[in-house]
């Protein structure tokens, strides 16, 4: 469905992403793993159109995607993103209801017919929030609630691909497991493709069908999750795996 080919992004003379090719098929979740500074966030920003590539192409259903502001409406909403910092993901001065409504105002095609207030409540319930949250301002919510609202805002426009950039990293461990479980559940119900970016292999293995490993802007390994985790070919993957196994005792296991 979405295909990244030979993507290169430079910041001045620093090569952040070097010749990365990656694809996400329909209904598939791809985990993109790497330490901070490995270029994984830049790949995500290029896919959603926030970062202009220096070379390489990003295509959706075989059609090339430009910067987000130049994309046609339907293709704009096809790819949505959930950001790392839950608190700054939402405008702290806006109510949850107006945040969701902004998405529908921008993409009337995806807006529900009938009562918007009821639709907001349904959407919030869909991400496991109490409908009363709609009235609250974003700065009154907890980190986990913020992240659920972020997910709701992304789902409001019925995307096909959800890019989660370290979406659970800033949350504490028990909330992390809840959000992860929610994402697993949502992608099944909404038939979402997902690009799940994390530095934590232990988190990625709970959700990803395929795993791609990045280091220093280069894709070092890619394959089905079981293969990458079971018999990593690259030393770097192995060291990530060891680090994750050490931490894994702290994580609640989430069924896929």
């Amino acid at each position: 469905m979405i295909e990244v080919r030979e993507l290169t992004v430079k910041f001045k003379r620093f090569v952040a992403v070097d010749d990365v090719s990656l694809s996400v098929a329909a209904d598939e979740t791809v985990g993109l793993v790497g330490e901070s500074g490995s270029g994984k966030t830049t790949v995500a920003r290029a896919i959603v159109g926030l970062q202009r590539p220096d070379s390489g192409t990003i295509t959706l259903d075989g059609v090339r995607l430009g910067p987000v502001a130049r994309r046609p409406k339907a293709r704009q909403r096809a790819i949505q993103m959930v950001f790392q910092d839950p608190r700054s993901s939402l405008n702290p001065l806006m109510s949850v209801a107006s945040i969701i409504n902004e998405a529908w105002r921008t993409h009337p095609d995806s807006a529900p017919t009938g009562d918007r207030t009821m639709a907001v409540h349904r959407l919030l319930e869909d991400v496991g929030l109490d409908p009363s949250v709609a009235r609250h301002r974003a700065d009154e919510l907890s980190g986990g609630q913020c992240q659920r609202v972020s997910i709701a805002r992304a789902l409001a426009v019925k995307p096909r691909l959800l890019v989660c950039d370290e979406a659970v990293s800033a949350l504490d461990v028990s909330v992390q497991a809840q959000i992860l479980r929610l994402l697993v559940d949502l992608r099944r119900r909404h038939r979402l493709s997902m690009l799940f970016i994390s530095h934590d292999l232990g988190v990625v293995h709970q959700i990803a069908d395929r795993i791609a490993v990045m280091r220093g802007g280069v894709l070092v390994e890619e394959g089905p999750a079981t293969e990458v985790l079971g018999s990593p070919r690259h030393d770097y993957t192995r060291s990530l795996l060891d680090a994750a196994l050490e931490l894994n005792t702290h994580h609640g296991e989430v069924g896929k």
Binding site: L50, A69, P92, E102
Partner: protein, 270 residues
Amino acid sequence: MRRIPYVVLAIYALVGGLGPLFIDYNPVRASLEDRLRGPGSQVSTGIAWLGTDGLGRDVLAQVVYGARTSVVIGLATVVVSCVIGVAIGTVAGYFRGWLDTVLARGIDILLAFPAILLTIVIAGAFERSVLVVVTALSATAWISFARVTRGIALSTRERAWVQAARVLGVPRISILVRHILPFTAGPVVALATLEFALVVLAEAGLSFLGIGLPNSAVSWGQTIANGKQYLATAWWISALPGIALSLLIVNIGILGDQLTARYGQRGRRS
């Protein structure tokens, strides 16, 4: 103690707003037998509580009408320069690129002139009128608004909620108005009070120099200038409007500092 500036400013607003309704004053009517009377003396029109000036005009009336002039000119200039400065600052900070470079360098060039010099040049080049004074004062006052809001826009545009709005495809103008502009409000309000004080002072300065408001308007600057030749014999003509002016400036300054302490910091963080 923290309420004092609010109380003082409320008194000025009240005197400036309602005073002219109760005190009748015509700046071009001179009464030569009443000239240079001290505070509290009996004159042909009643008691001159604050004395009279060299043309026999009531000083109390001039202080009251001058308060109205200062507040009106100050508000008009702050509103004009605030709107212009905030618009330019947010646009430059949000869009960056060549637009920002042009605006930022333009501001640098303007800052190279002493503000009062530029104001004097503009005010002196045209016929004296309220419009010219407001324009001349706004010509430099917008710069601080632009600089403050540009900084806020530059940092706010990197926040995830702005990025999320861009990914969503929210039109750029809505992003500016809804996701950037509200975060400039606190610092802008704090700055507006400080600018108001500077503007009132600058207007008095222009009028003192005789290139500010026309003679038909009453301005503290003019009254102070009218009294300067009588400083030794009739101190009240210059001193009383001068006290009214300094009291206003000092209190706005204190209020501005209070607001900066409360909103300036938070605006930069959130």
